[in-house]
Symmetry: C2
Subunit: 329 residues, 2 copies
DNA sequence: CGCTTATCTTGAAGCGCATCAAATGAATCC
DNA sequence: GGATTCATTTGATGCGCTTCAAGATAAGCG
């Protein structure tokens, strides 16, 4: 910056002004300084700026698993909202590791980022970072509510409700909810939603539950095989799968079997709007997570917390998932 | 830091020493300072440290599309290698946008990151960032070679060769290469590899080429349908697909058709080791990209460039993809 | 034309830390 | 016991920038 000042024949303070308060500088000198900046290819050191002046313009986003495009959606929503506020989101992939989660948290803390968005690991006893008090503002995404922090999450109960309600409106009367393990909060919540939708019919619709060991296609295929072996009279006519890959497994197992066509004999609804759900031979009806909105909302909360530190009230926001109807129902 | 010094009854310089040169400080005072640090919950400001002392410990990783898990692999490899060197990788998702790519580049430049890893958009006329001279060291990943930069990329030609060679070794004699558009460098390179493998047989194997409009499952299904309509006598017995999703489409279209079982009547090899390739009902033989190694190597090159700036020679590294044999061949 | 006011510009101080030369203290040696 | 040496500790200086009080210049007014 000193070089620029010298070349432009002004004081360092003036260079700083054209960078930060251009209106306070005569158009004439402003032009000269700008010319010097261009000629020297000067790019101000943001660390120094942040050190001297206000805060950083960086927001950190720590994600449990970047392999999951749901979280990438969140990141993009966050980036979008951050950009509107002149800030930037930088990502860190903790890749399921508690250690890394903590390490990143500490790093961003020491780097004095403006704020931190955290998608923690889904474990319950997830207290590694909670035991410590951080200097940065932190907003939790896709996590169970925590009292002393803002949080944004999808309304899984509502999603389960919507999926089930959809099948009921399509005339299905004998439903199965497939998913597991139920220790996973989202699975349990979606299940509750399904139960609520069925309860509203006052006995007009039956719901049974198949607990699976996981949510992968092979678990779904097991469910499908089991359905195929059921006597046609006892056979359900709708499946609410707790995840797309699970639902796809069900569809795969049913493919080609007589009397078991999807969606005529059996409707299937998935969950997550996974890429696989629309690239399947039978595109899957599914519930799309509001990942993008979660990201946007999280940044909004973070900015609020940063700006009105004193009056800020922590809050938990639940966002509504949306039904995407395709060929499987 | 001043607070810590005061509480421990030492000078600020000493606090700095226990942080940076612990051996130069008496165990006794070191313990006292440490106690003060703990009591105050002091976490040093990394920006200030970098400003005063050497360089930052941050490496930026700008990715064209984080939705693609191939790039997440690279990021993880990079993080791994960076960690070994006491550094950290932070990600930025340019989401296919040239603007964002440039903006991030400039941001990381101004934030004085130690170095930058860039996975640029696949376009050829990709000169937005090239026109400018950056202060940071930059390594290109998964990109066409550029003279004045280090670069790391997969050897697609070799991958195409390996896939084809595998089918030949399995006794296949009439092959099809399916993929497109051929303006995509990886597609063209894989095709060349396939041609080389066939050429080595001196006429013992036939290869035809089906140019598709894209690499999605539906394009593959079209190929599969066409194969099914071919007279059995003229029908190929092996398909080299330029991508997994394409290959999966082929398999899907063939499923259940008599005389067209996979892998008996027709073997299929995909490319990318996409998640879908192993979760399919017929797990796909495929070529796995060395994403992890690309990330590791890129960081290695970056560190070399940083440490031996004077003597450093830019280099292009091609990494070997590996064949993953599963049920479709 | 002298003085007040508004507009620009300046230079010093400080952000939080690392480093380095200088000072202090302890240990060693004859 | 005094002189040396080596290990610790100190305090000042500067990293690149913003800001702020103060100085300089220009404009406005009677």
């Amino acid at each position: 910056m000193a070089d620029v000042a010298r070349l432009a024949g002004v004081s360092p303070g003036t260079v700083s002004h054209v960078l930060n308060h251009p209106h306070r500088v005569t158009p004439h000198t402003r032009a000269r300084v700008q010319a010097a900046i261009d000629e020297l290819g000067f790019a101000p050191d943001r660390r120094a700026r942040a050190l001297a002046g206000g805060a950083s313009t960086l927001i950190g986003f720590i994600v449990v698993d970047l392999t999951n495009s749901y979280f990438v959606d969140m990141a993009r929503g966050a980036q979008e909202a951050a950009q509107d506020a002149g800030m930037t989101v930088l990502l860190a992939d903790s890749a399921m590791s508690a250690d890394r989660e903590l390490t990143y948290l500490q790093l961003l803390d020491e780097e004095r980022f403006a704020g931190i968005l955290l998608v923690p690991r889904p474990t319950i006893a997830d207290d590694v970072w909670r035991s410590r008090s951080w200097t940065r503002d932190i907003v939790l995404l896709n996590a169970q509510p925590v009292g002393d922090r803002c949080g944004v999450a999808p309304d899984d109960e509502l999603g389960g409700y919507k999926a089930t309600r959809h099948l009921i409106e399509r005339g299905r009367r004998d439903l199965v909810f497939a998913g597991g393990p139920f220790t996973l909060h989202p699975v349990a919540a979606r299940h509750r939603g399904a139960q609520r939708a069925v309860a509203e019919t006052n006995g007009g619709v039956r719901l049974s539950t198949v607990a699976t060991e996981g949510l992968r296609p092979r678990h779904g295929r097991e469910v499908g095989d089991r359905l195929a072996q059921t006597r046609p009279a006892d056979r359900p006519d709708g499946v609410v799968a707790a995840a797309d890959l699970l639902g796809l497994g069900v569809v795969q197992a049913l493919a080609g079997r007589p009397g078991l066509s999807v969606p005529d004999d059996l409707s299937v609804v998935g969950y997550d709007n996974n890429q696989a759900s629309w690239e399947s031979p039978v595109p899957l009806t599914t519930v799309a997570q509001p990942g993008h909105e979660i990201g946007r909302t999280a940044v909004r909360l973070l900015l609020e917390e940063m700006r009105e530190r004193a009056s800020h009230q922590h809050q938990q926001v639940l966002l509504e998932p949306s039904l995407v109807v395709r060929s499987s129902s």
